[in-house]
C-alpha cells in the first residue's frame, strides 16, 4: 500500500537527517554516545503510530508526512525577520531569551544586568563543556518515548537557566522560539530551568514565527526542577504558523513544600503534541495546571499530562479546556499516578470542551492509577455547545453572531487565563486568544 510505504519513508528519512546533522550537533565523547543511543532508541520504534496506546489519537505516521532537514543557523536576514516577529509578541518587563530556528540569538536576547543568583547558559555551551552531572540532568527525560529520544539525538541548542537558593526573580524569564520562515526545516531544542530552594520565578515559553513562515517543525523539550520551598509560575503559549508542527516534551520535578502553577495555551500549528510528566517528589506541595486549546480548520492538538504523586500530603489540580471549530481536534490524555507512599493525596482533573461545529472532535482519556489507600482523586468532563439563551441575550443587545460567540468564548477561555498571576502575562495570553478569535471571524 502506498500510504504505508510513505509512512515508513518518513522514518527512514529521519535516519538520514540525523546522519547529515551530526557534524553540527554540539557535544563530543559521552554526549555524542548518548545521542547515538538515543537515536537508536528512536529507531527501534520509529514515528509513533496509533498502535502505541499513548499515541492512539495522534498518529504521527499519518499526520507527519514529510521529514524536514535540520534548520540552518539563522543568517542576518533570518534574524531580522525574527526581530520583526518579536515586536508583535514581546512584552516589556520580562527578560527575553530568544531562539531563532533552534539556535540561541544573543542579539535579540536580554543578557545584561543579570540578577544576583541567576545564571543563563546556552545548551550548546553546556553540552560542549565537561560537566557530566549537568549532562545527566539534561538527559533525564523519558528515553523510551520516541519523540524525546529523537529530540535527545538532534538537539542543537536551548537555554540552561539556574536560579540560586533563596533568589526571588522579580522579572519573568521569557524563552521565545521563533521560526524565521526560511525553507521548510526542523528545529530541535532543549532547555532547562532549575529553581533552587526557597526561590521564586516566572517562566514563559512562547512559540511564534515570522509573518511568512509556513511549513516547519518544532521539536522542543524542557527540564524543570523546583526546589524545596520554591514557587514556579509557568506560562506556555504556542502560536506557531498554521502549517507548523510542534512536538514538545517536558519533565518537571517538584520538591518539598513547593508550588508549581502552570498554564498552557495553543492557538497555532496544524499538529501539536505537548507531553509533560510532573513528578511531585516532596511532601506538602501543590501543583495547578490549566490548559486551553483553541482550534479550527483542521488543527490537531494533543496534550498528554502525567501527574506522579510520589510523596504524601500533596495536591494537584488539572483543568483542561478546548474550544473547537470546523474540524478542529483536541486530545487530552491525563494520567494521575498515586504511588503507595503518597497518602493524603488530593488530585483532581477536569476537562471542558466547547464545540462550535458538528465536525469538531474532543477526545479525553483520563486515567487514575492509585496505590495509596487514603487519597481523594477524581476526574470529570463536560462537552457542549455555546448556550443559546446567552447567545440570544447578547444578540438582542446588538452583537452580531460572531461577536456574541467571541465574547462567550473569551469568557470560557478567560476562566483559565485567570489562573495566571502576573498581569502582563495574563494580557499576553488574552491577546493570543484574541488573535485566534479575530482570525476566525
Amino acid at each position: 500500500m502506498n500510504v504505508a510505504l510513505a509512512k515508513t519513508d518518513t522514518g527512514t528519512a529521519l535516519g538520514e537527517a540525523f546522519a547529515l546533522a551530526r557534524p553540527r550537533l554540539p557535544g563530543g565523547g559521552k554526549v555524542a554516545n548518548t545521542r547515538q543511543q538515543a537515536f537508536e532508541a528512536y529507531e527501534r520504534i520509529g514515528l509513533p503510530n496509533r498502535r502505541i496506546e499513548d499515541w492512539k489519537y495522534t498518529d504521527l505516521r499519518v499526520l507527519m508526512r514529510d521529514v524536514l532537514p535540520l534548520a540552518p543557523a539563522p543568517d542576518a536576514a533570518a534574524l531580522s525577520r525574527a526581530a520583526d516577529a518579536l515586536k508583535l509578541h514581546a512584552i516589556d518587563g520580562v527578560r527575553k531569551l530568544v531562539l531563532v530556528d533552534g539556535v540561541f540569538a544573543p542579539k535579540l536576547s536580554d543578557l545584561g544586568k543579570l540578577d544576583a543568583g541567576l545564571t543563563i547558559r546556552t545548551l550548546r555551551d553546556v553540552l560542549e563543556a565537561d560537566d557530566a552531572a549537568l549532562h545527566a540532568k539534561l538527559f533525564a527525560l523519558d528515553a523510551a518515548n520516541p519523540m524525546i529520544a529523537l529530540n535527545s539525538a538532534m538537539m542543537t541548542d536551548g537555554v540552561v537557566i539556574a536560579v540560586a537558593d533563596g533568589t526571588r526573580l522579580a522579572q519573568p524569564v521569557h524563552v521565545i522560539h521563533i521560526a524565521s520562515g526560511g525553507l521548510p526545516a526542523a528545529m530541535f531544542t532543549r532547555s532547562m530551568f532549575s529553581l533552587g530552594k526557597e526561590a521564586a520565578a516566572t517562566l514563559v515559553e512562547s512559540y511564534i514565527c515570522a509573518d511568512d513562515a509556513e511549513n516547519y517543525q518544532v521539536h522542543d523539550s524542557m527540564v524543570i526542577h523546583i526546589g524545596d520551598g520554591a514557587r514556579l509560575d509557568h506560562v506556555r503559549l504556542t502560536e506557531d504558523s498554521r502549517e507548523a508542527f510542534n512536538i514538545s516534551s517536558s519533565a518537571i520535578t517538584v520538591g518539598h513544600k513547593a508550588h508549581f502553577n502552570t498554564f498552557g495555551m495553543n492557538t497555532g500549528t496544524i499538529v501539536s503534541r505537548y507531553q509533560a510528566v510532573i513528578g511531585i517528589v516532596g511532601e506538602h506541595s501543590q501543583v495547578e495546571t490549566n490548559g486551553v486549546n483553541l482550534l479550527n480548520g483542521r488543527q490537531h492538538a494533543d496534550t498528554t499530562l502525567v501527574m506522579n504523586h510520589v510523596a504524601p500530603n500533596c495536591s494537584s489540580r488539572e483543568v483542561f479546556r478546548a474550544v473547537l471549530d470546523d474540524r478542529g481536534h483536541s486530545v487530552f490524555q491525563g494520567r494521575i499516578n498515586v504511588h503507595q507512599p503518597a497518602q493524603k493525596t488530593d488530585a483532581k482533573m477536569m476537562t471542558r470542551a466547547l464545540l462550535l461545529s458538528d465536525e469538531a472532535e474532543a477526545d479525553n482519556k483520563p486515567e487514575l492509577e492509585i496505590f495509596a489507600d487514603d487519597v481523594q482523586c477524581g476526574h470529570g468532563a463536560t462537552t457542549g455547545a455555546l448556550d443559546d439563551s446567552l447567545l440570544f441575550y447578547l444578540r438582542a443587545r446588538g452583537m452580531t453572531e460572531k461577536q456574541a460567540q467571541a465574547l462567550l468564548i473569551q469568557a470560557f477561555v478567560g476562566e483559565a487565563i485567570e489562573s495566571i498571576v502576573n498581569d502582563d502575562l495574563r494580557e499576553l495570553a488574552i491577546s493570543a486568544a484574541e488573535r485566534w478569535l479575530a482570525a476566525r471571524a
Binding site: 444578540r395 438582542a396 443587545r397 446588538g398 452583537m399 470560557f412
Partner: protein
C-alpha cells in the same frame, strides 16, 4: 404618521403548537402601553418574537417597526434600529464583566448604525453618569454579567442598558417579578425617566401593582394568544378588582 410598532394579525407557533392566534397591536411614539394577562396567555412569546428570539415560527401576520418589516431582521439588527427587550429572566454570563458587555453591545449598535464607536474614557464617563442615576455602584459593573446579582439588581441592570442604549421601543417583560416595593420603585423611576415623545414603552405585567409606578396610556388584556380587550389606565384597576377569569371565558 407611521406607528412605531404595528403587530398585525400575528400567528406564532412553538414546537408545532400555535401560541399566538392572530394578535394585533399598534403602538405610537410617546405612548406607554401595558399588556396584562394571566400566566400562559402568550405575553413573553410576543416579546420574544418582537426581539427576534429563535425557535418561534411565525405562520401568519406581520410586525412593522417604523414601517419596516421587523421579522426579516436578525436580532442584532433590530437592536441597532432601536428595539429593546428587558428580559423577564436576564441571563447570567460568568467571565464577561458587565463593563465589557455594555461597551461591546453599545459599540456594536453604533457601528451597525454607521456611528463612531465610543472610546473607553467617553464610554466610562457615560456609564458612570447613567449608573449613578440608577444607584448602581460601579463595583457591580466589574463583576460578571448578572452573576451573583439579586433579582432587583438584575432588573436594574436591564434598565441601565435601556438608559445607555436609548432605544425607541422598550418592551419590559414582567419587570416587577421578584422585586420588593423599594426595588420596584427604583426600577420604575429609571423607566419613567426614559419616557419621551420619541420613545414608546410596552410594559408587560401580570399584576396591576407595577402600573401604579409606571402609569400607562393604554392597557390591553391578553388571553390565550390574543388581545381580548383594550382600554385606558382604568382597565388595569378594573382587572385588579375582577381578576382575569372573565377574559379566560371570552377567549375560550
Amino acid at each position: 404618521m407611521t406607528a412605531l410598532l404595528q403587530v398585525k394579525n400575528l400567528q406564532v407557533r412553538v414546537e408545532e403548537q400555535e401560541i399566538l392566534h392572530g394578535l394585533t397591536l399598534t403602538v405610537n411614539a410617546g405612548e406607554v402601553h401595558a399588556i396584562m394577562g394571566p400566566n400562559g396567555s402568550g405575553k413573553s412569546t410576543l416579546s420574544h418574537v418582537i426581539a427576534g428570539k429563535p425557535g418561534y415560527e411565525v405562520t401568519g401576520g406581520e410586525i412593522l417597526f417604523k414601517g419596516e418589516d421587523l421579522l426579516d431582521m436578525a436580532p442584532d439588527v433590530r437592536s441597532a434600529k432601536g428595539v429593546f427587550l428587558a428580559f423577564q429572566y436576564p441571563v447570567e454570563i460568568p467571565g464577561v464583566t458587565t463593563m465589557t458587555f455594555l461597551r461591546t453591545a453599545l459599540n456594536a449598535q453604533r457601528k451597525a448604525r454607521g456611528e463612531a464607536e465610543y472610546l473607553v474614557p467617553d464610554f466610562l464617563r457615560k456609564v458612570r453618569e447613567v449608573a449613578g442615576s440608577l444607584n448602581i455602584p460601579m463595583d457591580m459593573l466589574k463583576r460578571g454579567v448578572n452573576v451573583g446579582f439579586s433579582g432587583g439588581e438584575k432588573k436594574r441592570n436591564e434598565v441601565l442598558q435601556m438608559a445607555l442604549f436609548q432605544p425607541s421601543l422598550c418592551i419590559l417583560d414582567e419587570m416587577d417579578s421578584g422585586l420588593d416595593i423599594d426595588a420596584l420603585r427604583v426600577a420604575a423611576d429609571g423607566v419613567n425617566a426614559l419616557r419621551s415623545p420619541e420613545r414608546a414603552m410596552v410594559v408587560i405585567t401580570h399584576y396591576q401593582r407595577l402600573l401604579n409606578y409606571i402609569v400607562p396610556d393604554h392597557v390591553h388584556v391578553m388571553s390565550k394568544g390574543r388581545v381580548v380587550k383594550s382600554g385606558g389606565k382604568e382597565l388595569a384597576l378594573e382587572l385588579e378588582a375582577t381578576g382575569y377569569a372573565q377574559y379566560e371565558d371570552v377567549a375560550a
